[in-house]
Structures are given as C-alpha cells and as structure tokens.
C-alpha cells in the first residue's frame, strides 16, 4: 500500500486495514504560555500482528508491528500569552508518511493497552 495514503473521509474506519496519515487535533501547551489547538497529520490504522505456538521455548513466536510515523517533518508554532523570558516556540512532528513498523523507543513513547 502507498505509505503516503491518507484516510479519506469516505473510508469506513471500522473496516480499514493498513496504516495511513490521518488528521489529528491536540492542545499544544507548555509551562508559562497559553494553549493552542493544533490540527496536524499523524498516523492511524491496523497493522498485522500475530502469536503462533512453536515447539521450542519460549513456545510462542510473536510478530508485532504498529502504525507509526515513517517520514516526518517538524513544524513550529508560536504559543500565545507567554510570560516574559519564556521561549514561545512549540515544535511538533508532522507525518509525511506512515507505516507498520517497530515502535522505536529512541524517538517514541511506546504505550500499549488492554
């Protein structure tokens, strides 16, 4: 699939399989400044994962890939109402493309939930 594929509004999200760029809105804030709503490109999808019993220890083979950023660029905005001496710039990543890949703990906070 095209890694630059976007989740178009016509796609049925309940049936979507794969990993695509999707619009995401968050509140940018840091101490000493006002908050700002930002809409950007992030990643969302469903990647293939599996667990398979095997004869030898550890008795289960695991394949886990998650939908995450492939290529990114950094965007910068100016937060409003910053106190004197507080740097008003707020940087955040923008997804140019997304893919099913390993969650890289060097750049990413990897969370998983039941």
């Amino acid at each position: 699939a095209d890694p630059r594929a976007r989740v178009a509004p016509v796609v049925d999200l309940r049936r979507f399989v794969g990993c695509a760029v999707r619009e995401f809105t968050f509140l940018a804030r840091k101490p000493g400044c006002g908050a700002l709503h930002i809409t950007t490109d992030a990643c969302w999808g469903r990647c293939e994962t599996w667990e398979k019993p095997v004869v030898e220890p550890p008795f289960v083979e695991v394949h886990q890939r998650v939908c995450t950023y492939n290529e990114t660029r950094t965007a910068r905005v100016r937060l409003p109402g910053c106190s004197p001496g507080v740097e008003p710039t707020y940087s955040y990543p923008v997804a140019r493309s997304c893919h099913c890949g390993v969650c890289l703990t060097s750049t990413t906070e990897c969370l998983t939930s039941a």
Binding site: R14, R15, F16, V17, C19, R22, F24, F26, A28, R29, K30, P31, T40, A42, C43, W44, G45, R46, C47, E48, T49, W50, E51, K52, P53, V55, F59, V60, V62, Q64, R65, V66, C67, T68, Y69, T72, S91, Y92, P93, A95, C98, V102, C103, S106, T107, T108, E109, C110, L111, T112, S113, A114
Partner: protein
Amino acid sequence: YDGPVPGCHLYPFNVTIRSDRRGTCRGTHLVHACVGYCESSAFPSRYSVLAASNFTHNITSTSRCCTISKEAKVKVRLDCPRGRRHDDIEILTATECRCDMCRKSRY
C-alpha cells in the same frame, strides 16, 4: 473473500514434529495461531511526556496487538519406522484470540 478484516482471529496451520534431526519419527497436527489487525496510532507527545524524556520522545504510539488469550495442550503422536515407538509430544494451540497489550519486550 474480501481481503483482510479488522480484529484478531484463530488461524489454522499444520505443525510437523520430528524426534531428531534426521526425522526418524515424525507426526503432524493441525493447531491454531492468532492472526489479525488491531488498532494502533501515533501522534505528537504531550509536553509532560516530552519533558520526562528529556525532549527525545516527540512521538507517542498507542497500540494493541493480536494475542493468544486462551490456549490448550494437544498431544501429537509420532510415527516411527519398523514399528518402533516414541512418546507423544505435547504442543500448544490457541483456542481464543484477542486484541490486547503488545508484549513490549518482543516488539
């Protein structure tokens, strides 16, 4: 068949067990794995996450993975040449699957 569907499902496959490298005694059994497509996403980290990671984790990923939620043991009978006998070998098979926590140490 409409291609892959979301969710985490039982997937049958044949496993062949050999008693040694030469495969003197061998047996085959149908067992199940769990295979599927669970939701995951990645987005800009909150300021608290950024600060806690010394500004290295600018992305946060949340994910669930297709896991075996229930399993059973099955006995596989090995067939040997010239009427020799070999003890049955126990192996695991998945009986239920679920989108659940990814096993962090393995991904």
